[in-house]
Structure formats: C-alpha cells, structure tokens
Amino acid sequence: MNSLAKASTLSSENISVWFGQRQVLSDVNLVFPANKVTALIGPSGCGKSTFIRTLNRMHELIPGAGLAGSVYLDGKDIYAEDFDAVSVRIKIGMVFQKPNPFPTMTIRDNILSGLRLSGRKIENGDEVVETSLRRASIWNEVKDRLNDQAISLSGGQQQRLCIARSLAMNPQVLLMDEPCSALDPGSTRRIEETIQELSSSMTIVIVTHNMQQAQRVSDQTAFFLADDNTPGGVVEFGATEQIFNGPIDQRTNDYVNGHFG
C-alpha cells in the first residue's frame, strides 16, 4: 500500500472575492480542521461555490477574478509566490457538481490521468488504480472492466470514479462542490458513505443544498448568505449539531428550517 498523506488543516483568512468590479464575497474566515468534514450551506448565489474555488486556486482561472485575504494549508499561504498553483491543486483535490470523467480515456486511464497531467512518474500504476478505486468504494463494480471507456459507467459510478481520480493524487484535502446534485438517492447515499470513510484520512469541505446531507455527513457547518446587492459572507459557523438544532442567528434558523432559500 502507498502510505497515505496526512490530513491537513485548511483555513481561510479574510477572503474577499471580486468578479471584475463586483464584489461577491466579503471577509470569510473559516477553519477546516484535519479529518473533519465541513459543510458549506446557503441559498444559490451566496458565493459558496466561488469560495470553495478559492481554496485550491481554481478561482484565479476565471477572467477578471480578484481576491483578497489568504488561504493557509498547515500554516502555509497557498497564494504565496513560492507555492505554485499546480502543487496546491495536487495537495487539495476537487470533485465537481457534474461527473466529469475524461471521455476519451478508459476507467484506468482516468484514475492515472492526474499523475500524467501533472507530469509525475507513474510507479506501480495497478496499485494506484486499485487503491484509489477501493477508497472511493467502486472497485468491486469496475475491477473487471478497467479498460472500458469511463463514460460507459452510470452517473453515480462516474462521480465515484471522479472521486477516485482525485484520490489517486493522494490529496490532504478534498473539496466537493455539490457532488450529489446530479445523482439519484442511491448513488447519493453511497457517496455519503464514502465521504465518511475518507474523513479518517483527509480533510473534506463539501458544498451542499441538501440540509439532510449536511447533517448526515458533516462535523461542522458554515451558513453563507448574500443580502440583496451585497457581497456574500458567512452568517454563522459552528458544529453541525448546533447550526441545525440551536442556531444563534435568526437567519440561520429560518434557512435550515426551510423558511427561505
């Protein structure tokens, strides 16, 4: 077995974000402790997805994007000049809303694609493939068809393949942007189980619109909100139990109980 990387603590300090002249996020301070699952909840357009993209420097790929503040991975600023974006993204993996396996590649090649894309040597590829697929709990379903095209899988399987693809890079943090929003309840449940298993070896941040999901998978929850024509920000941040059962802010209470959003 490859030795797994240690989970890391990730934190954001005074993160503000602009698209062009428009400020969309203001002063976000959150701490994602090692081996914890943090859920980001809030109505559409409040900046959750934008925020999660600042955590692995995907944000800076959008034309006109601006940023203030810092993101620390085990105390090191990932936007510092001596920390290049590629090594940030290798340490901090990401799973997208819609399953996005590479359509020209086989299942096996999808798993190894990160190593190839980042120009790393592939040693014992078979082992990487098996370990990653096992950790994403999809090994048993695909072990006999590793050379099939990835798009031959069902949507839920494709999403777990994408998780496995990120795991092959052995990340310390995994960011998930509404990973289940395109999936049926069965696939959703399996991914939630996978998230729980993975949290023993990494730090997980997950954006979700599903209140039950946030309660099921996360240890702590941050509630984002953007009032009319103002940048989004964090209204309340705390243990998931507390956010859902005894929120301090009235707006949090309204949102988690389905009064708006």
């Binding site: 034309p63 990401m94 996005n100 020209t104 694609s113 990160g114 190839r116 894309l117 980042s118 120009g119």
Partner: protein, 328 residues
C-alpha cells in the same frame, strides 16, 4: 368478472400526423422542400453535364487519362493525360494541410482559451476576413510579394536540409520559385480560416468542467491541451482539415499564379519548380483549347469533382463519428 373471459379486441391505432397545420404552414413546407430539392437536382445536373461533355475524351483516352503524363494537342490522335495534375493537386493539398493545421489549431486555442472576449472577437473576425479575400488577390500577392520571400525559404531549406529527399532539387540554378512548396503555402493561407473556425467551434463547445477537472488535478495548460482538449476534439479537427483539403484541391487562380505547371509528375521534391494542379491546369488551357481538348478539360473537372466529393464525404463521416459520447 365475466368480461375478463371475452378476448379484448386489438387496440385500434389512430391516425397521427406531423404534417402542415395551416395553409401558411403548407406553403412554408412547399417552399423549403422545393429549395432543398433544387440544390440536390442542381448537383445532379452538373454531374450529368460534366459526364456527357467528358465522355468523348474519356472514351478516346481510356484509363491512362488519370495516370498518364503527356498532353499533346499537335499529335493525331490527340493525347490528354492528367496524372501529374491529379498527383500535384494532392501534393499541394497535403503541403497546405501540413502548414495550415498547426497554425489553425493554435489560433483556435488562442481565441477560445486565452484571449479576453473582446480581443477574441476581433481575432475571429480577422481570420474570417481572410476567408473572404478573393483568391485572385491572394494569387497576385503570392506572385509579387510572397513568392520571392518563400523562394528564399526554399533555398535555405535546401541548403541545410537538402539531405532529406523532399528538400532535394536537381539544380539550385533553376531557382526556387514556382514550386509546390510555395503553392502549398498559398493554399495553407486560404484554408486556415476553415480549419480555425471548425476547431474554434469544437473547442468552445467542450465541457468547461472537463478542462477544469484536468486543471484541478494539477494539469498545466499544455498537459491539459495534450491529454484532454486535443484528444476530445481530434475527430472534429480532422474533419475540419479534410474540408480544408477539399477547398485546397479546388483552388484554381491563386495556384495558377504561383506554380510552375509541367506534365512531369513531381512525386515529392517540393522545392523543385515543377508541379501540377487540376483546376489551375484547366484554367491555363481553356482559353485556346480545341473542341477535343475542351472535352478533356471537362473530364479533368469531373475527376476533380469526384475527388473533392469523396474527401468531403469522408470528412462528414469522420466528424459524425468523432464524438460517440455526444448524443446530437
């Protein structure tokens, strides 16, 4: 229940119709189908016309018409063979594609992924304008401006890479003008817009999440292009290249100005002032052709027509098969 014992009659199928819904609809339907059929009939008539006119030459010359290397109207019976022209057209087309493809793919990448949207629009318009230039303009520019420059490039290639067979020449004293190399460049300039616009279209339709996925895995711009963007769009790019090749084969005036047309097959010494091209040959001979020769020239046109049709046909098959994961 007693009714259950009675056999149920087979369901009666109702008449369904997706036909025109109103008089206006009917007329719209008629107009469009007439227009569609007109295009079809036109192509058929052109083919029939070419075939009838070409028949005397094809029967008198036989099969050597397409592979022989002699054209002599002084002799009796007259000899008309267009082998060097067919091969020349293919050679120039291939050179054009080799030069144009990397240029066009880079341009498309630049426009879609790198330029800010306003600049991208300007660049797109400029490339499309290139397609709108009349080929006689490109031909004259090729003759007076480009050929002298490209001859220098040819001389340099021959000097340093002369040991490669395709860059050999019989004698450097013949100069380096009028070569398939120069004609290939001219054709490349003319097909860059076609390949660029098809590649641009494919690149811009790519799922951005696919590209983001590659970048999020630690991909660089280049590795993302090499491993994700290009493989995903390669089929469609090949289709675009073949469409460009179709245009290259039909190019007439521009090549006529820059190419030294001879009836010796130039198998691949692309710097030699010796080449052929079916369409340009027709242009050069048509003015003073005898009636017999006209039939031969039309037969040459027929051959070119079939060749181009075949390439376009292959292109459409490749483009359609290129992305099996994309359901229309």
């Amino acid at each position: 229940m007693s009714e259950s014992s009675v056999t149920k009659p087979a369901p009666v199928r109702r008449k369904l119709s997706a036909g025109p819904l109103s008089t206006g609809d009917k007329w719209f339907f008629r107009t469009t189908s007439i227009a569609a059929n007109f295009a079809f009939v036109l192509v058929a008539f052109i083919l029939i016309f070419l075939f009838i006119q070409a028949l005397p030459a094809l029967t008198s010359q036989g099969l050597p018409f397409v592979y022989g290397t002699e054209w002599n109207n002084q002799q009796d019976p007259i000899v008309m063979q267009i082998g060097p022209m067919i091969w020349g057209s293919l050679l120039i087309g291939a050179i054009g594609v080799v030069f144009a493809t990397p240029l066009a793919v880079s341009l498309a990448y630049l426009i879609v992924f790198m330029l800010p949207s306003r600049l991208a629009k300007v660049a797109t318009t400029l490339v499309d304008l290139l397609a709108a230039l009349p080929s006689v303009i490109i031909g004259l520019w090729g003759l007076f401006v480009f050929s002298p420059v490209a001859s220098e490039w040819g001389a340099i290639l021959n000097k340093y890479l002369g040991w490669v067979p395709i860059f050999q020449v019989k004698s450097a004293d013949n100069g380096f003008g009028g070569s398939p190399f120069i004609a290939g460049w001219i054709v490349a300039i003319m097909i860059v817009p076609i390949i660029t616009s098809i590649t641009r279209e494919v690149f811009s339709q790519l799922d951005r999440d696919l590209i983001n996925g590659a970048l999020a895995l630690g991909g660089s711009r280049f590795s993302t292009f090499r491993r994700v963007i290009f493989p995903t769009s390669a089929g469609a790019v090949v289709g675009g290249v073949l469409l460009g090749l179709g245009r290259a084969l039909g190019e007439t005036v521009a090549i006529f100005y820059v190419l030294q047309i001879t009836f010796n097959i130039n198998w691949g010494q692309i710097l030699e002032p010796n080449g052929g091209a079916v369409a340009s040959m027709i242009l050069s001979k048509f003015g003073e052709a005898t009636q017999e020769e006209v039939s031969g020239l039309i037969a040459a046109g027929l051959v070119l027509f079939i060749l181009t049709l075949g390439i376009n046909f292959i292109a459409s098959i490749i483009v359609n098969r290129a992305q099996p994961w994309r359901k229309n």
